[in-house]
């Protein structure tokens, strides 16, 4: 009788799984599978109760393999692996079966088919679990320094927080000057303080901090390596420099959409974007008496479905500044919803109304129309709440546009091997579990590069990213997952097929008593498996995803 003793824990996840899949029946079925010595189902396997049950049953039934059938390994594998480890079982002797996100939630109207699928998936999970081998994680030293890409308010805040905790920071900024978007802003809501009063002191503190090395008009050319050991190539006006850092924070910000072709922008002289209005307000306004603002230009439309989050506040702030500058001026803000969420913004919106700024709600299917050929003279708009068409005299038309992702997000995402969301902003690992981390270890994201945010939110995200980056740097080492490739030297013929396939050049041919053999540097191997699949001698084994384990799953699919 093989000494494999498997325990299975099937989760109801409240009604999420139990409401569709017949969990008790599936648990009974699991008991019939080879080498399964124990099976149970619980309301919430991920709860403390569920976890302690796993730990208890491991010792009670001397389990040396654990299978959990519940939600998705992407969020809960670490939790259950740690539970196994806490019970003294090597955490790689654990297999996760996804019967919620990829079964009960997507076959809600076909409970019997979902139950049958759950049975198949569990059979496949057990088939793999039986062949799992214990693995040990390799400890990798972490260089206690961080590369911050982007010298705007987010990048600088992150750099300062890191430096104040004693870590060395390389702050790289593409432009000549630090400051980012705030440099060309006039005032900031909600205190209407001058943007310079916020950004200049920040720049000074960054420049004077001996732990922060500032590299302006510098671009990141290449990033190699992995958490704790990133080899970064910087390009400062053609001159290349190499630095070694442990962690990377992306704070490259975003840019304001230029609404070319909308409402006559570009061919009528008195149409500005809010950003252009900022400069005019900064230098001093002309004698325009009637100012009309149109919000949601190029946002919340099929081509760009997202809401720009802060553009309403930018518009209202500029409207307030215009009124404060010239109380006689009339300002209309045409909007499709006013996104002044929270305590401060709503109060600011009330203040704007008290100053006589008029807000008119329009709908997407009846957008405002511009009157006038080379200059805007008036704006026709259907006032939804009054239910009638209005013609507003207009000396200046201001279009409120959302922040959009930088064009070169694509290159940064390729270089750092991190993904973009469908909107083109950077995609964090998990909106709630890891809001400022990438799926790739050691790389973090904050500020408008992740999603349009205002200054305090950007600074909060910057500090949060710094907190996450500090964790591995303070500990001094990381133990990446032990999912790596290994060469069996009795099988390797030194044919060299694998060498160039490795994206991390972790493989090289080394001569050993006269014969050339492939050698893999475990620390550099990320476990993708490309070399393992290509090795014509079957000499490369992928830990935790060995050929035998995957083939066992394939064979278990069809009873």
């Amino acid at each position: 009788m093989s000494d494999v003793r498997i325990g299975i824990f099937v989760c109801h996840c409240g009604k999420n799984i139990g409401g569709v899949i017949n969990v008790p029946e599936v648990t009974e079925y699991a008991k019939t599978l080879p080498d399964v010595v124990y099976a149970e189902h619980n309301l919430y396997t991920c709860s403390a109760e569920g976890i302690s049950s796993i730990r208890q049953k491991i010792s009670e039934h001397k389990l040396n393999r654990v299978v959990v059938a519940s939600c998705t390994p992407r969020t809960h594998e670490t939790l259950f692996r740690n539970a196994c480890e806490a019970a003294g079982l090597n955490k790689y002797l654990f297999e996760f079966v996804n019967i919620r996100d990829q079964c009960s939630w997507v076959h809600m109207q076909e409970p019997e088919k979902a139950t049958e699928k759950a049975r198949d998936l569990i059979r496949m999970g057990v088939a793999k679990a039986r062949l799992l081998e214990p693995l040990e994680e390799v400890e990798i030293r972490v260089t206690p320094s961080c590369l911050v890409i982007g010298g705007g308010v987010a990048g600088m805040s992150a750099a300062l927080n890191l430096a104040n905790q004693g870590f060395e920071v390389y702050l790289v900024e593409r432009d000549k000057e630090l400051g980012g978007l705030l440099l060309n802003l006039n005032r900031l809501f909600t205190i209407n303080g001058k943007a310079e009063e916020v950004i200049i002191p920040l720049i000074e503190r960054v420049k004077n901090h001996q732990k922060i090395k500032v590299h302006t008009s510098t671009e990141v050319k290449g990033v190699a390596g992995f958490i704790g050991n990133f080899d970064v190539t910087l390009d400062q006006k053609g001159e290349e420099r190499k630095i070694k850092v442990g962690t990377i924070i992306v704070a490259t910000g975003a840019e304001v959409l230029k609404p070319v072709g909308q409402y006559g922008y570009g061919d009528k002289s008195n149409i500005l974007t809010q950003l252009e209005l900022e400069e005019r307000l900064n230098k001093g306004m002309g004698d325009e008496q009637n100012i009309v603002m149109i919000n949601c230009v190029g946002a919340r439309i099929p081509e760009r479905p997202y809401c720009g989050r802060i553009c309403c506040m930018v518009a209202i702030k500029n409207a307030v500044l215009i009124k404060e500058n010239d109380p006689r001026a009339k300002v209309w803000v045409l909007h499709r919803d006013l996104m002044t969420y929270g305590t401060e913004f709503e109060k600011y919106y009330q203040k704007a109304m008290e100053k006589g700024i008029r807000f008119i709600r329009y709908s997407l299917d009846k957008p405002p129309e511009i009157v006038g050929n080379n200059k805007v003279k008036a704006v026709k708009v259907y006032h939804q709440l009054m239910g009638k068409e209005m013609v507003l005299p207009c000396d200046m038309l201001v279009l409120t546009t959302p922040l959009i992702p930088h064009e070169d997000n694509q290159d940064i995402s390729r270089m750092l091997r991190v993904s973009l969301s469908e909107h083109g902003f950077f995609l964090e690992a998990h909106l709630k579990l890891q809001p400022v981390e990438f799926a790739t270890d050691g790389i973090y994201i904050c500020g408008c590069a992740r999603w349009p945010t205002d200054v305090p939110e950007a600074i909060s995200q910057a500090c949060a990213a710094s907190a996450k980056a500090v964790i591995p740097m303070r500990r001094g080492y990381v133990r990446p997952e032990a999912i790596t490739a290994s060469v069996n030297e009795d099988k390797c013929s030194g044919c060299g097929t694998c060498v160039l396939l490795c994206p991390y050049n972790a493989i090289e041919l080394q001569s050993k008593d006269g014969k050339k053999l492939a050698h893999i540097t475990t620390a550099q191997c990320k476990g993708c498996g490309t070399c393992g699949a290509a090795c014509p001698s079957g000499a490369i084994s992928m830990n935790h995803f060995r050929d035998e384990e995957i083939l066992a799953q394939v064979e278990a699919l069809v009873i």
Partner: protein, 319 residues
Amino acid sequence: MAKLKLACYWAASCGGCDVAILDLNERILQVADLADIVFWPIAVDFKHHDVEAMPDKSIDFCLFNGAVRNSEQEEIARLLRDKSKIMVAFGSCAHLGGIPGLANFNNRTQIFERAYLEAQSNDNPDKTLPQTSSKVSEGELELPEFYDTVKALNQVVGVDYYVPGCPPPVPIISKVIDAIASQKLPPKGSVFASDKSLCDECPRTKGEKKIKKLYRPHEIIPDPEQCLLEQGILCMGPATRGGCGALCIKANMPCRGCFGPLPSVSDQGAKMLSALASIYDIDIKDEVAMAQMVEEVVDIAGSFYRFCLPTALINRRRM
């Protein structure tokens, strides 16, 4: 020690393996001293019924070459298995299905039509096809049944050892003879070859495994020193067992994979395909280059399964 009893048989094969045994040249005398040949249709005149008369397990070892293509070969394979202590699958056909195994791209109907009806040299107005039994004036004539699928020996009877090669090279044959003579036989199921791929013993120098284009052997004159695959010639060496002394490579021709897959590989074709496609350095977004790649590897299945189609995971064409 009493002389051993040796049997050889020639099933679906070209006869090259029988000749290969003679390639032992003077060492054939050592074989003669070692054993009495009790059955070897090509060389000695023992008949089928003679074997049937022998007591079970009375033959010490049987060198069975050729694949199993029809009922007669199967019958004799089973007979020899019963009569022999050690059954050796001798040569690629018995070991993997060999060249005859490529018939598995077709079935009996297609083969008969091609051979007896379509072949230009035929004179078969009545379109007669071979029958397993046919009545003639003299009585009833029987022919073995022609199977749809060619099988390797171990898909019909239990095989103790495998001697790869098409034909097995002399050094390997001598090794088999010595092992049997000395009774120091490797574990059951062993293959008399290296457990590493041909590249391990290939004399050519290896650089970067990256190819832009694949050439047919006649299209370029390869550099004699450098690895053939790296020069764009399809060489099955990386996915084939070594042990043959790289005979073909030394003759400036690429390996065609006759020694079969490596020990931990269950499908030689799949593995060679995976390796080759991985090192092809073309842009996957370029449809033309991708189509070109598939055209350049002329007859992919034929090339990758040249000797081992019957023992491949998908061992015949679905009709």
